[in-house]
Amino acid sequence: MIIAEAAVAAIILIGAFFLLVGSLGLAKLPDLMRRLHAPTKATTLGIGSMLIASMLYFAIIEGKPSIHELLITLFLFLTAPVTAQMVAKAYILRTRQLHEVLPGTGRPVGWATLDAAQADACSETVQHTTID
């Protein structure tokens, strides 16, 4: 039992350390694309460790296993890439000097973030309805 308590305490401390590392990276790194890199560690390793610790605690020490932690982990791991992609797209759209640096797409349509109307017009998934 004392070993389980020590393991839970150690995993809590590891999770708190990674949350601090994520926020430190957010505060210290120079531009947004590099800043975007740091909080993902906080999400996966920090929150993941905390939830593993609470799963271990309630399953081994209290003796009543719960699956809420798995739900939170699944939700966070599914939504973190979506969030990062949306933030990166907004940054690309709003930063003028990035537009010349971006390489071509190799297709007749340019970057969907920059020419949204053109990309919509050429998209295979958009159904065009004709108005008589």
């Binding site: 004392i2 308590e5 020590a6 839970v8 305490a9 150690a10 809590i12 401390l13 999770g15 708190a16 350390f17 949350l19 601090l20 994520g22 926020s23 430190l24 957010l26 505060a27 947004l32 800043r35 975007l36 909080p39 906080a42 999400t43 920090g46 929150i47 905390m50 939830l51 610790a53 609470s54 605690y57 309630f58 209290e62 009543k64 719960s66 809420h68 932690e69 739900l71 939170i72 939700f75 966070l76 939504t79 979506v82 969030t83 949306m86 933030v87 797209k89 907004a90 940054y91 759209l93 709003r94 973030t113 949204a116």
Partner: protein
């Protein structure tokens, strides 16, 4: 032992939230502020989980799940507004 670990973790997460608040106030662009808000939500979820462990209660996990959902929706809605000038087209 777990109580001491929870105390240290709470202090660490508070320091992390202060760093995030610095970026939220300082951030040169709106996108930096959105990213700082997202990180603040992540820190808060960690804090809620630690408090749930500290008080030995499983009731806090519903709060953490709701907070995760609201944070995700807020970030996506703000980015969508910046991208298209509209949230739901």
């Amino acid at each position: 032992m777990i109580d001491v670990a929870c105390l240290i973790a709470t202090v660490t997460i508070a320091a992390a939230s202060l760093l995030t608040l610095y970026r939220l106030a300082r951030g040169p662009d709106v996108v930096d502020r959105i990213l700082a808000l997202d990180t603040l939500v992540i820190n808060t979820i960690g804090l809620i989980v630690v408090v749930g462990l500290w008080f030995r209660s499983t009731m806090y996990f519903e709060a953490a799940l709701l907070f995760a959902m609201v944070g995700f929706l807020t970030t996506v809605a703000l980015c969508k507004y910046l991208l298209r000038g509209n949230v739901i087209e």
